[in-house]
């Protein structure tokens, strides 16, 4: 099973890559020992969004489905967590609220995805429909300021957003600060490795084959609609995980975290990073989030303009993504050193070939 951690669908293999991975993980685990609690909390905040980026990478980069509506599922799970945590009374029930809210997002993705995929919606129209659904939810939630908009004791509160839910809690212990940071790191490692195994498995082969040529994939006996739906549900579930963790982290959520500017952000992260590779998305998204947050301290408008400029630069200069491009250069350079410059295999779409 662990063989699937490496394969033709993912950047990085061998001792060098996994050594770097362990060094990075070690640095992440020791970071709270040296940093102050404010910075640790900020880092936990960056990490929240990584799940949504990885989910979009799976759907767009591997599955060929550009969803412009990841914040739809972010919002469903975010609000879902709030409603459930408030109604279930907080405490350890927040863990159940987290799980159930992600399941809720996945069910919503299953329903929307079923109608889109079985209805033959693909390409640019997939993005249009998902964005439309996202804007509908954001608009609807913005209209819920009145006291009549509540689910049990949980008020939706319109543009002011929902608040009053407990953070993730085990017994009497609130998972906040460093504890939340460690939970994030653990979840990211689990999700990242699980996704590597998924895309390098037989299912991943079919997902990528469907992206490349859905008709050919169907003519190999695969019902490509089921694979597309699976990809959409997993990717949306990860967006939901980000949403639920976000609500737990800040103990509030507003419609602005679902609307158009928020919906565009995952596209920028993943496009800049390199949509066709999980590692590039992981690293690139973290760097962008870190940069965005740093600039936002001084000017949120400047940060948004920079994001737009980065998207333009990516589309024009590095359509495969900047981080992926750098990773490719490093991989080619490393392989060139091992084999001699003359026999490097040219590869347009992947970072390394199977060395059989």
């Amino acid at each position: 099973m662990f063989k699937l951690l490496e394969g033709p669908q993912t950047l990085g293999r061998g001792r060098m890559f996994w050594s770097c991975f362990l060094v990075g993980l070690g640095a992440a685990l020791t970071y709270p020992l040296f940093a102050d609690s404010y910075d640790v909390g900020n880092f936990a905040y960056f990490l929240i969004w990584i799940f949504m980026a990885l989910g979009l990478c799976l759907m767009w980069g591997y599955g060929g489905m550009l969803s412009f509506g990841q914040t739809l599922f972010f919002g469903i799970a975010g609000y879902g967590y709030g409603v459930l945590a408030i109604n279930m009374g907080g405490g350890s029930a927040t863990i159940a609220a987290l799980v159930l809210s992600v399941v809720l997002a996945m069910i919503a993705a299953g329903i929307l995805g079923y109608f889109m995929i079985w209805g033959g919606i693909n390409g640019i129209f997939f993005g249009i429909v998902t964005l439309s659904a996202t804007l509908v939810l954001a608009f609807f939630l913005g209209q819920t300021a009145g006291p009549e908009w509540h689910i049990g004791p949980a008020r939706l509160n319109g543009f002011n957003g929902m608040k009053g839910m407990d953070p993730l809690t085990v017994g009497d212990f609130y998972i906040e600060g460093s504890a939340l940071y460690y939970v994030m790191v653990a979840l990211i490692v689990i999700v990242y490795l699980a996704l590597r195994m998924l895309v390098n498995s037989g299912i991943g082969n079919v997902i990528v084959a469907t992206r490349e040529n859905p008709q050919r994939a169907e003519m190999l006996g695969y019902d490509v609609r089921k694979y597309q739906l699976l990809t959409f549900v997993i990717g949306s579930g990860l967006a939901g995980l980000s949403g639920a963790l976000y609500t737990s982290w800040g103990q509030f959520i507003t419609p602005s975290s679902i609307g158009l500017p928020a919906a565009a952000m995952p596209i920028v992260w993943v496009a800049f990073s390199g949509r066709s590779d999980l590692t590039a998305t992981l690293v690139g998204s973290f760097l962008l989030l870190f940069g965005f947050q740093t600039i936002t301290v001084y000017s949120q408008q400047a940060a948004l303009v920079l994001m737009g400029a980065l998207l333009l630069a990516t589309v024009m200069l590095a359509p495969q993504g900047f981080v992926l491009g750098i990773g490719k250069l490093v991989a080619d350079w490393s392989r060139g050193r091992r084999r001699g410059d003359g026999d490097v295999i040219a590869e347009a779409g992947r970072l390394q070939s199977e060395e059989s």
Binding site: P8, G202, N205, V206, V208, A209, E212, N213, Q215, R216, A217, E218, M219, L220, G221, Y222, D223, V224, I345, A346, E347, A348, G349, R350, S353, E354, E355, S356
Partner: protein, 239 residues
């Protein structure tokens, strides 16, 4: 015994009737060629059989089961395997992964790798197995797609102009390959208009013209049919 039965199938696109009331039987174990001039409806009939088009009228049976309303993947799961006219491979994936994707439902582990290697060697693609499929020549992509179709170990192999763009040498080799699979019991339906290739592989031939069956029979009788020779094949090809 009939493996494929096309019964009274028609296909209309708006006001255009591409295929009209076609009856076709492909018997188990034969190499059956579907020929005809451009616009005869060969490719449309092929797409009706593989499930890319729903027929306007009529029904299609595979192994005595009505598959008229089944999608292509379901037909493949019943034992069909399809190679389309234009090379249809996963161009951004390595050659080996193309074959692997076709094989993985049937075989796993060492057995799958051995079969991958066998097919790559058989199709002269072993030296290029790490290349992206899109980097192969046109003829190699045709072979790769044939390899993917064969990887499914089908009862019925459907080939739409498998030698398009191939050199005479590659065409001949493809014909020998098809004959060897047929000798192992595989039924093959080929849409083709390269008569040299048809002569090399066909056991039975059906001629389509203007969407209707014009003639059918064994290879010799079709080659000697004056009307077919004059109108569709050209005398120089027929003799």
């Amino acid at each position: 015994m009939a493996l494929v039965e096309v019964k009274g199938v028609s296909k209309r696109f708006g006001g255009l009737t591409a295929v009209s009331g076609v009856d076709l039987t492909v018997n188990a174990g034969e190499v059956h060629c579907l020929i005809g001039p451009n616009g005869a409806g060969k490719s449309t009939l092929f797409k009706l059989i593989v499930g890319l088009y729903p027929p306007t009228e009529g029904s299609i049976l595979f192994d005595s089961v009505d598959i008229t309303k089944e999608r292509p993947y379901a037909r493949v799961q019943r034992g069909m395997s399809i190679k389309m006219q234009a090379p249809s491979v996963f161009k951004e994936l390595p050659v080996r992964q193309n074959i692997q994707t076709a094989l993985q439902e049937r075989l796993s582990g060492a057995e799958r790798i051995a079969e991958e290697n066998r097919l790559l060697t058989l199709l002269n693609l072993a030296p290029d197995s790490d290349k992206l499929a899109g980097a192969l020549s046109h003829g190699q992509q045709q072979w790769l797609e044939i390899g993917m179709a064969l990887a499914l170990k089908p009862h019925l192999l459907l080939l739409d102009e498998p030698t398009a763009g191939m050199s005479p040498e590659e065409t001949y080799k493809t014909g020998e390959l098809i004959k060897s699979f047929n000798a192992e019991g595989m039924t093959v339906l080929v849409v083709e208009h390269d008569m040299a290739f048809v002569r090399q592989v066909a056991q039975r031939v059906t001629v389509l013209h203007l969407g209707k069956i014009f003639a059918r029979g064994d290879l010799e009788s079709i080659l000697q049919d004056e009307k077919v020779a004059e109108i569709y094949l050209g005398k120089t090809h027929a003799h």
